[in-house]
């Protein structure tokens, strides 16, 4: 890999993604944890740009930083005694071993195809645009059923969450 804009971008976004991820699982303060999560997810949005999916990157920023971050901070403030939990972790050692083992297995699975030459080295030139996605979403032969199911899911989630969170006494 030579030094070019994509390489620099990749390195920067890797630092963002993994650094933010480490911040999420280690920080004691949940508000800072939310900020770390946003740093991490911003890095993921950067990957989407590098992978020629700018629409997904914009949506990632819009949904996570614009909405889910706000929602999590609201929830953190609503459950304020969270900072008072003394110990951050439970069963820290087994969890660490399990996740490390998982990482090694995944890394093994990722790297083996390189040596057998199964993984593509370069990407095709042409990439689908947002318009293609929009056309496919509502196409009979495309994703129209998942598209409508997603709407049902969102409706159900909203009704359910309002039903749960609403304070009956108020």
């Amino acid at each position: 890999m030579e030094l070019n804009a994509i390489t620099i971008g990749f390195v920067v976004f890797t630092i963002f993604t993994l650094g933010g991820g480490i911040g999420v699982v280690t920080t004691r303060n949940l508000f800072q944890g939310t900020i770390w999560l946003m740093v991490s997810l911003f890095g993921v949005a950067g990957y989407f740009v590098l992978l020629s999916a700018p629409f997904l990157a914009a949506v990632q920023v819009l949904v996570y930083i614009g909405a889910i971050a706000i929602l999590i901070t609201f929830a953190v403030m609503l459950t304020r005694s969270v900072t008072r939990i003394k110990e951050r972790y439970i069963r820290i050692l087994p969890s660490f071993i399990v996740s490390l083992a998982l990482f090694l297995i995944l890394l093994f699975g990722v790297t083996v195809p390189i040596f057998s030459g199964h993984l593509p080295e370069s990407a095709p030139e042409y990439v689908a645009s947002t318009r293609d996605l929009g056309a496919a979403l509502v196409d009979e032969n495309g994703y129209v059923v998942p598209f409508l199911l997603a709407s049902v899911l969102l409706t159900a989630a909203m009704i359910g969450a309002i039903f749960i969170a609403r304070d009956e006494s108020a």
């Binding site: 991820g21 999420v24 949940l30 929602l71 969270v82 990482f103 095709p124 996605l133 496919a136 749960i164």
Partner: protein
């Protein structure tokens, strides 16, 4: 262009971080954030495979569209999960999943 396996390796690391958070963190909100990390690791994989797959003449949109669906599921999960956490906190003054045993038989 960075080769495919690099994206996959980063996604694997992010996923493992999420798994560690889900298993080890005590606070329900932190567990939820770790789940978000795992979902995003999956999204990196989906987009990377989509980008590197051979499209030929026909447009292949599976990975692209699926990522959008994962995003929606992640949002729905966050909304309902946080609502449950708030309600449990209101009734029990606790945000530790192990202490919420109301639904256990």
């Amino acid at each position: 262009m960075a080769p495919l396996w690099m994206y996959l390796a980063v996604a694997a690391a992010l996923f493992s971080l999420g798994v560690f958070g889900v298993l080890a963190r005590r606070n329900a909100v932190a567990v939820l954030m770790s789940v978000e990390l795992m979902l995003n690791a999956v999204n990196i994989n989906l987009v990377a495979f989509w980008r590197y797959s051979e499209t030929g003449t026909d447009l292949l949109l599976n990975g692209y569209a699926f990522t959008a669906f994962v995003l929606i599921v992640a949002a729905a999960e966050a909304a309902v999960g946080l609502a449950i956490i708030i309600t449990v906190y209101r009734n029990r003054r606790s945000v530790i999943p192990e202490e919420a045993r109301a639904l256990k038989g």
